[in-house]
Subunit: 263 residues, 2 copies
């Protein structure tokens, strides 16, 4: 199976151009599953809930999801991507998984970071998994990486690959945590981060790139620099992620001592 990420610098508010340019960057490579950054079509740094609402789109009827669906249908591939979702009750920082069959997953970000709490509703969908060519793929978004319960929940639901759209600002942190999420759950993790900066409302946010694909052993199989805009693809064996037994005595899921844990 070929999985890839797009590391990409969207221009704030230019949805049509961002979607067009993202798909153009993917066109030179082939993958069965692509992961795009968080909020890849709008940009990140909303300064009010009203601004988020003005750029958000319903899923799957909005133009971003429709463009992803059309592209996935033409190419026969799957895409996980983050976008601002307009729902009747408000706006979510969401991610979709789409394929030739249509929309497979809608995930609304559970752990909102910093001012996202002002501009988005907290996610209510939970951590979900869908099959892509017989392989179970789960979604989490950016800051979810710092909460081990998120990746653990996806692993318990059978995820072999976690697609992780991100807009990371802290250098080096998620590059470490995602290796450990992969190791402790024995699954692949594909982090698609963005690059560039956004100067809005008197504040500058710098995004840190360094997207990566990590193996169930926690090895970095592919990665990017902090700045490059690029599509990177890696051949993986998702069967390895079914095996939670790490030696004849230990299984990373069934060895857990639920009788002794607090939550």
């Amino acid at each position: 199976m070929r999985v890839g990420y797009l590391q990409f610098n969207p221009r704030f508010g230019e949805v049509e151009e961002n979607v067009r340019r993202a798909l153009a960057l993917l066109s030179g490579e082939e993958a069965d599953l692509w992961v795009l950054p968080e909020l890849f079509s709008t940009g990140y740094h909303f300064t009010s809930p009203q601004e988020a609402r003005a750029l958000a789109e319903p899923v799957p009827s909005g133009p971003t999801t429709q463009a992803l669906l059309a592209w996935a249908g033409e190419r026969g591939c799957h895409i996980a991507a983050g976008l601002a979702e307009l729902a009747p009750e408000g706006v979510y920082n969401s991610a979709v998984l789409v394929g030739p069959q249509g929309l497979l997953l809608l995930y609304r970000k559970a752990h909102l970071f910093w001012r996202e709490k002002e501009n988005f509703l907290p996610g209510d969908t939970g951590f979900q998994v869908a099959e892509v060519g017989g392989v179970k793929v789960g979604l989490m978004v950016c800051f979810d990486h710092l909460f081990p319960e998120a990746a653990r929940t996806l692993a318990l639901k059978g995820a072999q690959i976690i697609a992780h759209p991100a807009n990371l600002v802290l250098p080096g942190v998620a590059q470490l945590t995602t290796r450990v999420r992969a190791l402790e759950n024995r699954l692949y993790l594909v982090t698609a981060n963005r690059t560039g900066e956004e100067r809005r409302g008197g504040e500058v946010l710098r995004f840190t790139g360094q997207s990566q694909i990590v193996s169930p052993q926690g090895e970095v199989l592919a990665s990017s620099t902090p700045q490059a805009e690029e599509a990177v693809v890696c051949e993986i064996d998702p069967e390895l992620a079914r095996q939670k037994r790490i030696n004849p005595y230990n299984d990373l899921l069934s060895d857990r001592r639920l009788d002794l844990y607090f939550r």
Copy 2:
């Protein structure tokens, strides 16, 4: 507060000599809290439950705990150390926390690794915390590091420092996971690993050293090579580990979405 670890190569079965030598290695340094390796007084590689039983000791009446208690009493310090515990129902891979007041904690290893499952009973005490000079210290042992629920449970019980006696054989893994445990729970983590090798029952186990002290930001404050036998001390500010708020919007414990997690 000064915390330290002893990286040390015990000789299998030579309990009296191991205890004497471990305390001698500590004598050149001063610390408020010392962490010694897992099974530091017996060695690790038991080939049968009978062999483990023959070397195990009751806690706190056995000679290893008594020697630690005496030394802690003389020096006015605290010691966390791993040892084989003889209980009426069998033998546990345990850790104690002792101080001038006496035995503060007895922890029985929850996640047994590899053949430990043949030679020890699974721990039944759960993850516990006690106060050392007003600072909350929790215990976990070796393989517990790979289960995020262990450190999380200690953090939820208020641990500011996790004392982590270990006998690690996989190079580099715990050095990564313990940084992430510290980061995701905002606490200090002191891993005391052993060195050397044990050839027993036709098998060779090589221990990997690289003990380390990690900050609540996941930085490595002190570390050792794979081979050195040494006592290493570091000044830390345990108040930093009370603060789970990482910015005005996010708190790493209260932001958790228990409504969305599986366990």
